[in-house]
Symmetry: C2
Subunit: 367 residues, 2 copies
C-alpha cells in the first residue's frame, strides 16, 4: 500500500481507533452481564442473527447496511455504533457521542428513554426468461481465483437459471435503494485475471468503462410501460433518500442561479436575484428530496435520461408504491444497497415495492 502511495500509517491508525471503539461497546455490554458474540463480516450470518436478541453493528454506515442485510425479522432490533467517524457520516448509526460512552445509550434503553423506529425496506420480485436469482455478494474479500472459479462453475452447472416465469421473491430487503443499470462497457468485454501474489487477491486487469447506457422499460404504479435509456434507475426508501438518491437529484446553487437568471429574462420579472434567494431556493428544493424512513413509499429517479427520437421520459423522478422494470439490457444488474447484485438482462422483469412486514427495527434515543 505504501508503495502505491497510499497513506498506510493513516489506515493503521483508523483501524486502531475502530478496534478500541469496538472493545468499548463489547465491554459495556458484558459489564451489564449481556452475552455478546463478536463476529466479523465473514462470520456474520442468519444463524448468528437468530441466536441474538438484538444486533449491534460496529463500523460505519456500510457495516450497518451489512448488518441489516441478514435481518428479516421486524422485531429484531438492529443498532448501529459509528466506530469510524472520520470516514462515515453515520446517518444510520447512533449519534457520535455514544461511540465513546456506550453505557449512556444502554441506560436510556433500560429506562425506556427511546422510541422504536421502523425503517421501511424494499422487496424485489424477479420473473421472466433466463433469469438467475443467485445473489452475488460484492463485498466478498480475498478469495483466491481458484476458490471463486470452482464456486461459480458449481453454481452454473447446478443450473440455477430458471425458465419458470413465476415471480421469485429475492432473498434481500433494500434498506437504502435498488439500482438498476448496465455493468460492463462492451458486449464482448474480456477480463483477464491476474493473481497478485502480494495481495492474495485477483483484480481484473481491464477497467470497465463506466458509461454504457441502460435500456429498459418502466411502469410506475401499474401505469403504461415506457421505453427508456439512461445511466440507470434508482429506487430508494426514506432511509435511502439521504444517500445516493440525494446525490443524484440534488441541485447546485450554481444551476439554480442560472435557471433564475434565465427565468427573470424570459418572464420580464422584477425579481431581485440575490444569493440569499438562490440559497433558499436551493435548500428548499434539496430538502424536498428527503423524507422519513418510516414512510412506506419509494422514490424513483432516472439518472441521466437520454432523450432523443426513440426514447423519452415523461417523469424523471417521483414517489411511487410500485415500480416494474423490464430489462432490455445486455449485461446489467440490480444492485441492492451497493452490496448485493443480481443479473438483470434482456428477458427479466423486476417488480419493486415496499411491504411493511419487511421493516427494520431500530431505536431513536431521547436527547
Amino acid at each position: 500500500l505504501a508503495l502505491k502511495g497510499s497513506n498506510y500509517a493513516g489506515l493503521l491508525e483508523r483501524h486502531r481507533i475502530h478496534t478500541k471503539n469496538v472493545e468499548h461497546v463489547v465491554d459495556s455490554l458484558r459489564n451489564e452481564r449481556i452475552e455478546v458474540r463478536l463476529v466479523k463480516r465473514r462470520e456474520y450470518n442468519e444463524e448468528t442473527v437468530r441466536w441474538a436478541d438484538a444486533v449491534i453493528s460496529a463500523g460505519g454506515d456500510g457495516t450497518m447496511l451489512l448488518a441489516a442485510s441478514k435481518v428479516f425479522d421486524k422485531f429484531k432490533p438492529v443498532i448501529g455504533v459509528n466506530t469510524d467517524p472520520e470516514r462515515s457520516e453515520g446517518h444510520l448509526c447512533l449519534p457520535m457521542r455514544y461511540t465513546h460512552s456506550f453505557p449512556e445509550a444502554l441506560q436510556k434503553l433500560y429506562r425506556g428513554e427511546f422510541r422504536w423506529q421502523w425503517r421501511q425496506r424494499i422487496r424485489l420480485y424477479l420473473e421472466g426468461t433466463g433469469i438467475n436469482p443467485t445473489p452475488v455478494d460484492l463485498h466478498e474479500q480475498q478469495l483466491s481465483q481458484e476458490q471463486h472459479s470452482r464456486a461459480h462453475i458449481n453454481e452454473r452447472f447446478q443450473d440455477q437459471r430458471s425458465d419458470i416465469s413465476d415471480p421469485h421473491l429475492l432473498p434481500v430487503r433494500a434498506l437504502n435503494e435498488v439500482f438498476i443499470g448496465e455493468s460492463l462497457s462492451s458486449r464482448y468485454a474480456v477480463c483477464s485475471v491476474l493473481f497478485r501474489e502480494n495481495f492474495k487477491s485477483c483484480k481484473p486487469s481491464f477497467k470497465f468503462s463506466l458509461h454504457r447506457a441502460s435500456y429498459y422499460e418502466i411502469s410506475v404504479d401499474d401505469g403504461p410501460w415506457e421505453k427508456q435509456k439512461s445511466s440507470g434507475l434508482n429506487v430508494c426508501t426514506g432511509t435511502g433518500s439521504k444517500a445516493w438518491s440525494y446525490n443524484i437529484n440534488k441541485v447546485a446553487n450554481q444551476a439554480v442561479e442560472e435557471i433564475l437568471k434565465i427565468a427573470k429574462k424570459h418572464g420580464s420579472l422584477n425579481m431581485p436575484l440575490n444569493m440569499e434567494l438562490v440559497q433558499k431556493v436551493t435548500n428548499d428544493y434539496n430538502e424536498s428530496l428527503l423524507y422519513s424512513p418510516e414512510e412506506p413509499k419509494m422514490f424513483f429517479s432516472i439518472r441521466e435520461p437520454i432523450v432523443n427520437r426513440v426514447f423519452s421520459s415523461s417523469r424523471q423522478r417521483g414517489f411511487s408504491s410500485k415500480v416494474c422494470v423490464r430489462s432490455r439490457c445486455w449485461d446489467a444488474c440490480m444492485v441492492v444497497d451497493g452490496g448485493t447484485s443480481f443479473e438483470f438482462n434482456d428477458g427479466a422483469i423486476a417488480s419493486i415495492m415496499i411491504n411493511t412486514e419487511d421493516a427494520l427495527c431500530t431505536v431513536l434515543l431521547e436527547e
Copy 2:
C-alpha cells in the same frame, strides 16, 4: 442470443442494412476510381491511416470515435457515414440522406461545396508515482482468456510501471470527453472468469457495483487545489458537449418547474408560472451547455458531488483551458471517449488540456 430473449432477427436485419450501406459507399468511391481499403475494427491501425488520404467511418458515432482515435494528423480528413440510423443519432456523421446517396456527397466535395471543420480534441499528461501509461482498449473483442492472460502478464513483467515523474503525453486524443472515476466497487473485488463455449468470450461472473465514490483533488486553470468526492469527473470538448456531458448536466422540465415554484413563493414574485415559461427556461438552460466543436475550450462537470463535513465543491461545472487532477482513488481509471482507459490511482496526476495541433479534420457539406 435468442435463448436469452434477445431480438436475434432484429440484430441480423440491422447487420444486413449496415452491410448494404457499406457496399454503397465503397462502390460509390470505386466508381470514381478512388482506391479503397475496407478494414474492420481489428484491422484498423495507424499504418492504414498513414496509407490513406482520407478516412471514412461506416457505422454510427461509436465507429467515428474509433476512426478518429488512430488519426493524429490534423490534415487527414475523417468523414463519418451513418450506416446504422436506428441505433445511432449520427451527431458525428454526415446527414442521414448521404447514407443512401453517397455520390451526392462526393460531388459536393469535388465542387468545393463544403468547408473544413476542425473538431478540437483533448490531450492528457500523466505523471506521479506508480503510474501505468499502458492504454487498455475497452472494445477488444473475443480474445480467449488464455490469450489475454498471456498478453497482460507479459506487460506486467516488462515492468511498465514508471517511477519517473516526468509527465507522459498519453497516445490518445479525446474527441468527446475524458471521464475519471472509480471502476470497481470493492477493494478486494474478485472476478472469476468463466469461459463461455458458445460465445468464445469471457464474461466476469461478478457484477461490479456501479456506485463507488471517487476521491480526488482538482485544480482548474491553475487555481487552488480542492479535495472532492463524487461519482466522477467529466471533461469534454465542444463535440462532447452534446454527448455524455449533456446528459449529466441537462435539467428536466419537472425540476425547473419545482425550482420556479419555490422561487415564486420565497421571493413573493408576481410570476405567472405557465408551462410555456418553464419550457423556455428549460430549453435555454440546456442549450447553454452546448458549444461549437471548433472552440478550443473544455467544459468540466462533476457528477453527483458529495458535499459533507470533509468535501465541498465550489463549482460543479464550468469552462476551462486546463484541468489538473490528483488521484486519491483506489482503483480508478481515465476513460477516453468510452473506448480507451488508463489506470488512475492514488499517486497519479493528470493534466488535461486542448492543443489546437490535435484537432481532427472533418467536413461540413453545404446544404
